[in-house]
Amino acid sequence: MTHDAHTDPGHGGGHATSYRQYIMTWCWLLVMTLLALGIGYAPVPEGIKGMLLVAVTLAKIFLIASIFMHLKFEKMNLVMLTFSPLVLSVILFFMTFGDAAGSATHIIETHPSYDERSVPAHEGGAAGAEHKK
């Protein structure tokens, strides 16, 4: 009955294979992180940006859960259980979305960038300027 007793395909059959799989997963996660970063900076409408970021995030979660957390090797009962927070989150989102969307103005304020703020104002940077507000 203990987990130690059964053969886990995720760990058995040579470490080289497992390591390769973990390293490949790591590489994909880094690529998708850079992709998400690119989407964050892309000059696209907020709605489209949101959908693209949801897609990339779900792909990353899928990789982490299936490979690193070994859900790929677990029984379907457990896998289905792990979907419950996602399903409940979607319900909660749509419960609040109606009210939020009705009052949104979507004004995105621009400010001096982090790097500009790091330079003191007397040296020509914007540090301290934002405190005037």
Partner: protein
């Protein structure tokens, strides 16, 4: 009476009848999953509340300008890398190689500590610029409140994870490790990574 007994035996023989494991895991691993699912709901609540606050606010600062995105990306790199070596630690623990498991656990702890160090730097910088739970120098106060609550709660999870991993690594170094213990700690650590993936996308980039 016979029919009732037969029905009872039929139920007991089924996956859900007791005496079996419908989820095919040890109880400790299953309890860890239950914890992860309940904790995921907590973070889901935070992120949806954040979305609501943001959409109902008259304006919102542009995060890619307010935050040091190079630092945030590096923090993401550190956490993802630590998750990958954690998976290797679990593999070694399962294969009965405690020394290698300890080595990978130590690398995971280093990754988590680097993440925490960067977060301390980010928080101190933010506080230094005048941000508090109720005041935000870049506009609406909800922005700073969301930042401190969400990243603070996540950071607390990372700190807890580093502590748990240190205990597991020490136990493994003294030969008191169990593969289940390492795997459960690993599940928690990967969950912390999963939460950060959501925070990175929805708080810092969207």
């Amino acid at each position: 009476m016979d029919a009732t007994l037969a029905e009872q035996q039929r139920i007991l023989a089924s996956d859900w009848g007791g005496g079996k494991s419908p989820f095919g895991t040890s109880w400790s691993k299953f309890m860890m999953w239950i914890f992860i699912i309940s904790d995921a709901l907590t973070f889901a609540g935070f992120l949806i509340a954040y979305g609501f606050m943001r959409m109902t606010s008259p304006s919102w600062p542009k995060q890619t300008e307010v935050f040091n995105m190079t630092l945030i990306t590096f923090m993401t790199f550190a956490l993802i890398s630590s998750s990958a070596v954690m998976a290797m630690a679990v593999g070694e623990a399962r294969a009965g190689n405690p020394k290698k498991a300890v080595k990978f656990l130590t690398m995971t702890i280093i990754g988590g500590t680097i993440f925490l160090g960067c977060q301390v730097y980010e928080w101190s910088h933010f506080i230094g610029e005048g941000a508090t739970l109720t005041h935000n120098p870049w506009g609406v106060p909800q922005f700073a409140a969301g930042f401190f609550v969400i990243t603070g709660f996540h950071g607390f999870h990372v700190l807890t994870g580093v502590t748990i991993l240190a205990i597991v690594a020490l136990r493994a170094a003294f030969g008191k490790y169990s593969a289940d213990g390492v795997e459960n700690a690993g599940l928690y650590w990967h969950f912390v990574d999963v939460v950060w993936v959501f925070v990175f996308a929805f708080f810092y980039l969207l």
